[in-house]
Amino acid sequence: MSEDAAAGGFRGYIVSRPVGGVPYPHKIQNLMVRDYCRRKGLPFLLSLTEVSVPGSFMMLHALLQNLEGLRGIVLFSQFVLPHARAERFKIYDRVLDAGLQLHAALEENVIATRAEVAAFEAPLAIAPWLPATPFAGKFPAASKEDFGL
């Protein structure tokens, strides 16, 4: 066990699927997570990589079942979390009940207390509705390709 792990570190979590429509390479995600940890003074522990199967959170669930020795989790982005709001709240509860923190490196958002859940959650709650707003919420306006047409 490394010194960081012994002291309680922050486990990175990166994904193998597009985030917000952008296919960030693992290398870029890892750079972002490591840099975030360095700037915030968080002892970084090697990232877990989620499987590429659409909708699968196999690695995240495994991580949440074994939080011992951790001080928190650093997601590459808060948008790597499940789309279903109820599933996200289960994750917040699991992390907070264990006395840990949940960070999102790209957005520099953090949940360290229950009071911070609402602000963390707001962009995740709004984003799914943007396709139903004018121009499908995108500029330049969404094209047929964006809908797979």
């Binding site: 709001r85 790209l106 707001a122 962009p123 709650a125 509705w129 004018p134 919420g137 995108k138």
Partner: protein, 247 residues
């Protein structure tokens, strides 16, 4: 351009900025904050400017009250022009322009066709010192911008400086004093030139947009965060359909 809606909030921002600047320089905060900021070029060289600017920003970013104070300086103005459900830029845009310094210029550009911004964004621009002529920024007025935007392609091989020279006679230089705020659409061509005035410019720029309007690459989450959501939207966003039937 209007007087700051919450002058106390603006004064707080200026005090915090000056304190962060004094800390970065390792000196006690001078009594006359305005003069201190205006003459910062006597203490900071162009070579050290960006390092200094980032140190000031670190100090400001550590203050959770910065964004609410900034919003308070122009809230009604933003709500009138944009709407009352708003997203606000997360990071802080800070310009420090030393006299005669050509190392940190922002050439003529439009944020929409020259960057990655949505045309639904506006900029709330707030100076910490009086700004006039080249110590300030320039804007191309809307009717002129429309005319020249249609001709930007002609300058493809000639470069942006040639475009600047072409539009220069039609530019408006913004004269604005400390205590005032300006809201503008960054779809318009704008920028700055070498500051030929005797003192240093300090100004903030922060973007706002309607929460439910189109985003370009500056996205909700990493670049923007919600700053005003109405109760009906909060109810709608967290509403779950009843379970147990039709499943």
């Amino acid at each position: 351009m209007l007087p700051a809606e919450d002058r106390a909030a603006l004064d707080r921002i200026r005090l915090n900025t000056a304190q962060a600047a004094a800390k970065a320089l390792g000196i006690p905060l001078p009594a006359d904050i305005g003069a201190f900021l205006d003459t910062i070029h006597e203490r900071v060289t162009p070579a050290r400017l960006n390092e200094f600017r980032l140190a000031v920003l670190d100090g400001l970013l550590a203050d959770p009250g910065f964004r609410p104070s900034y919003f308070a300086c122009g809230r009604t103005l933003v709500e009138t022009i944009v709407g009352n459900e708003l997203a606000m830029q997360r990071n802080i845009g800070l310009s420090i322009q030393l006299p005669q310094d050509d190392s940190s210029l922002l050439p003529l550009h439009s944020d929409t066709w020259g960057s990655e911004c949505s045309p639904f964004e506006v900029v709330l621009w707030i100076p910490l010192v009086d700004c006039t002529r080249t110590k300030s920024m320039f804007l191309l007025p809307p009717e002129n911008d429309r005319k020249w935007r249609a001709r930007v392609g002609e300058f493809e091989s000639r470069g942006i400086e040639d475009l600047y020279k072409a539009v220069e006679p039609e530019l408006t230089w913004i004269d604005i004093n400390y205590g005032q705020v300006m809201l503008f659409t960054p779809t318009l061509m704008h920028g700055n030139r070498v500051n030929r005035e005797p003192n240093t410019r300090w100004s903030f720029n922060m973007r706002f947009k309607g929460l439910f309007t189109p985003y370009a690459n500056k996205k909700l989450g990493d670049y923007f965060s919600p700053v005003a959501i109405k109760p009906a939207s909060q109810i709608g966003l967290s509403f779950d359909m009843p379970g147990g039937s039709g499943e």
